[in-house]
């Protein structure tokens, strides 16, 4: 399996959880410890090692928060 690197432009995340829902590895979560300027808990990957770089999260993110790289 390919490995992935997923980065979030946290400031513009709206916490909608679409990325969370479509990640096949279930490794995305909202970061309850943060609130961004828009007032949302931004999404982040909790276990990057499991990421398979499928791009689903990025494809589904309506706000282009996510960049996915294959390592």
């Amino acid at each position: 399996m390919a490995k992935g690197l997923v980065t979030f432009n946290e400031d513009i995340c709206k916490g909608c959880e679409l990325c969370v829902a479509v990640c096949p590895k279930k490794i995305i979560e909202l970061d309850q410890s943060k609130i961004n300027a828009k007032g949302f808990h931004p999404a982040h990957v909790v276990n990057m090692d499991e990421c398979i770089a499928c791009g689903n999260c990025a494809i589904m993110c309506p706000d282009s928060v996510i960049t996915v790289e294959k390592l």
Partner: protein
């Protein structure tokens, strides 16, 4: 007696509801009232604010520009925008839970309420707006808290009656929180 209040915050923080309860309560207290909402372009997640006037005499314009007697701000952008709308000696009631900044004007009275924390304490984060309203009522005495409670089912419907005790408590806690500051300030 007249209070001209701007209530402002994120959509979802219940600022419109706060304003409506205040206006409805004022009406039950036989005052003249007006409530005027204003929304941003966003349907959700944007900012929202309303102007409320409660008065003993006929209300002219329902719009508040720079003549507000009180401003209740639930988040930072609202404070940045509306502090300047206060008339001299006006009251700025700040949701300290989300706003770290202090009031910048010194010709006004500022009060800092840990609204979100207090609301969490009494069991519902959504009640932060009622905490703020409690503080405002304590400061101005423009509407009786009982009238706000009477207004509750009128504004939200009979099926929301079960939330009354929680909201009553929130009003009280807000009042208490501001009383401490009235003492110190």
């Amino acid at each position: 007696m007249i209070e001209k209040v701007i209530v402002a915050g994120f959509g979802g923080q219940g600022v419109m509801a706060l304003g409506k309860l205040l206006a409805y309560g004022g009406m039950l207290d036989d005052r003249q009232v007006s409530w005027l909402p204003s929304y941003g372009p966003e349907m959700r997640g944007g900012t929202a604010n309303c102007d409320v006037i409660v008065s003993d005499t006929l209300i002219g314009s329902p719009v508040l520009t720079d003549d507000a007697t009180a401003v209740i701000v639930m988040n930072l952008p609202s404070m940045d925008k509306f502090e300047s709308h206060l008339a001299p000696n006006g009251k700025l009631i700040i949701n300290k839970s989300l706003i770290e900044k202090k009031a910048t004007r010194d010709d006004i009275e500022a009060y800092y309420i840990d609204a979100n924390e207090i609301a969490m304490e009494i069991g519902n984060a959504k009640a932060a707006n009622m905490v703020m309203l409690g503080a405002f009522l304590e400061l101005t005495k423009i509407v009786k808290p009982e009238s706000i409670i009477k207004a509750f089912t009128k504004v939200f419907g009979e099926d929301k009656a079960k939330f009354i005790p929680l909201n009553e408590l929130a009003l009280q806690r807000g009042a208490e929180a501001v009383k401490e500051q009235m003492a110190v300030s």
